[in-house]
């Protein structure tokens, strides 16, 4: 996903040029957040469930090595071929080599943010392998040649009229047709045909159970099952943090996942995969791609608890008004802003600043990741590592100088107030970003300190 040199502020500035669209985007996601609230409030033990999930994940992160080894052993016993990938490139090569071995040059894929993170589609395309995404939203953005803008609702930024146009162009639906029922039926027909003719299927993994070597894939459309069941080769790709210790832990996560994501009580299909059916091959690729680096940063390791429900995006007032693409990374929103700088601190140095630190994300997170605190911490790291904007640096030095001394501060305050009062054009101009859409505060005749000295000092 390339954004050129643009950062979050510049990209969201473009998004905000169409205010009606921002309103629509905000309201659509707020509707999902409200559904999440309703679903959560229907479970009296919601907060204990979150705590349980968080503790299970703490256990996983402290014993990741052991659980992964246990999982690999069990999976192999079940007849699954397990692969390990250190990074995105290795992951893509592994997938490619399996496909080559089977002479496959067309395949289907269910939604997987990991393959987005690794840019698998582009890689396979370069190697002349056709990938068709089978999640409806993913298919839509794929036709539009755009990356997903949201991890659960990949085409949430598109209106139904725009989808109608895309389908008209690519799937031959009538021009101007924007009825969701009709469009969904058209997509289903097109995908059915694809399912029946592809020999390989890639799925993501939501949870992998160390105890049994099985894994669970959650979809609302059943597309992962359909792909995996019809294909001769099933390749499942997962980040190493998706491990949970025992099958009984699933109850905690499955109850939290979809309530947090869309407000549904449970995902329509929670498909358990354990062993290949006779004649089928099942491969599982375990991917690190920066996860062990993040694990080794005490301030940020908690981010690996994420179960990718997207509740933090739906609740984030900044995400709702800037759109997923403004984050220029596969996983957008608050959690993406913590994960991305781990992958490339320079490229994503803007993201931890794309937040007001309001804290709503941490409150909705079903595994209790302290998201807003980690954003604050990333800011300190990014500045220390030298990725801060140079003008900001100068401003901060000046601020330090002013605020460390009562004498300088008081005089600066007086000078500032004098300018605002007597020469407002020096502050009320286009270069002042505050002033573009807001008035400056009115200037009082004296500061509180001046008032206090006159009126109270000797009380």
């Amino acid at each position: 996903m390339s954004s050129g040199t643009k950062d979050h502020a510049a990209l969201s500035d473009i998004f905000n040029k169409d205010e009606a669209r921002v309103d629509w985007h905000d309201e659509t996601l707020w509707f999902v957040r409200a559904k999440r609230d309703k679903a959560a409030h229907n479970i009296p033990e919601w907060e204990s469930l979150r705590e349980a999930a968080s503790q299970i994940k703490n256990n996983v992160l402290s014993n990741l090595h052991n659980y992964l080894i246990e999982f690999e052993e069990q999976a192999q016993k079940n007849g699954v071929t397990v692969h390990w990938a250190a990074d995105a490139a290795e992951h893509n090569q592994i997938v490619h080599s399996i496909l080559k071995e089977h002479g496959v040059n067309r395949l289907i894929k269910s939604k997987s943010m990991l393959t987005e993170e690794c840019h698998l589609n582009e890689y396979l395309k370069q190697n002349e392998i056709e990938v068709i995404d089978t999640d409806l939203g993913e298919r839509i953005v794929q036709l539009a040649q755009e990356p997903p803008s949201h991890i659960v609702l990949p085409c949430i930024h598109k209106k139904k009229e725009e989808i109608g146009e895309l389908f008209h162009e690519h799937l031959g639906t009538p021009e101007g047709m924007a009825d969701p029922v009709f469009l969904t039926a058209a997509a289903r027909e097109h995908l059915r045909e694809t399912f029946l003719t592809r020999k390989a299927a890639i799925t993501g993994v939501n949870f992998a159970v160390a105890e049994t070597g099985e894994f669970v894939v959650c979809t609302n459309e059943g597309n992962a099952d359909m792909g995996a069941h019809l294909a001769d080769v099933h390749i499942a790709c997962m980040g190493i943090e998706k491990i949970i210790p025992k099958r009984k832990n699933l109850g905690v996560f499955l109850r939290l996942l979809t309530r947090s994501a869309t407000g549904q009580p449970i995902t329509t299909y929670s498909s358990h995969f354990k062993k290949p059916r006779p004649g089928q091959q099942m491969h599982l690729v375990l991917v690190d791609n920066g996860r062990t680096t993040q694990l080794s940063r005490p301030d940020f390791r908690n981010s690996l608890k994420c179960i990718r429900c997207a509740a933090c995006m739906n609740t984030c007032p900044v995400y709702r008004r800037s759109g997923g693409h403004s984050y220029h990374t596969a996983v957008a929103g608050p959690i993406g802003s913590i994960l991305a700088p781990n992958l490339d601190m320079k490229e994503y140095s803007d993201l931890p600043f794309a937040s007001t630190l309001c804290g709503s994300c941490s409150n909705v997170c079903p595994v209790k990741i302290n998201i807003h605190e980690q954003l604050y911490k990333w800011r300190q790291v990014i500045v220390k590592e030298g990725y801060a904007d140079p003008t900001k640096k100068l401003a901060m030095k000046a601020m330090e100088f002013t605020l460390s001394s009562p004498f300088v501060y008081k005089n600066a305050g007086k000078v500032g107030r004098w300018f605002m009062k007597h020469a407002p054009f020096t502050v009320n101009n286009k270069l002042n970003l505050w002033y573009q859409h807001r008035e400056m505060p009115e200037v009082p005749k004296e500061s509180f300190e001046e008032w206090y000295k006159k009126n109270k000092k000797n009380d």
Partner: protein
Amino acid sequence: MNVGLFIPCYIDQFYPNAAIATLNLLSRLGITVKYPVNQTCCGQPMANSGFEHLTQGCNDLFIDNFSEFDYIVSPSGSCVLHIKDHLHSAAAEDKASGIRKKVYELTEFLTDVLKVDKLSARFPHKVGVHQSCHGQRGLMLAQMTELVDAPFSKPLHLLKMVEGLELVELSRPDECCGFGGTFCVAEEAVSVKMGKDRVADHINHGAEYITAADMSCLMHMEGILRRQNSNVKVLHIAEILNAQ
């Protein structure tokens, strides 16, 4: 009870009335308050921008000004939260940790320490309450809509004691206004959009005034209201609790 008044820099410079109301309100409740005149700023604007390492000067000054008090009270949730979470000093960590424990935002001080149960205040207007995030979520001044727990709100509890005041109900009771310190200029487009939406929620529900326990959110919303030539005004909660 020896109470120190901590007035954040931008309130000192631009909103002295909020500070005066805080002082008068506390005095009327029988509390002797002292304002150390050498204070400047808590350092939050720098820390939230990633420059926490430049805040030692502010921290030391804060410690010098405030370590002697039993309580430190401030009419700003976000500055109090910053002190609570981030005030440190290698040279005087004992004093720093003491301060972190005894610093209070005004409404929590009134509710939790003074246990105020009546006020002689009158403000016959329709008022919308903006629950500022740092106060609400950071200091837990009010229950948050995301959490499954019994509702409460310290600012609302106090406002309900004000004669004639009518609270308006909002569609989104705890949505962020988009101020966010340097976010308001670094991410100008989103910040302004958030502010416009927040203000619209209050206006659509008939508010004549918007109040909050954080003047910074109000400053941002006031900038937007005035640009829209709106009649709706902002007032710090201390000014309403102190209104006669």
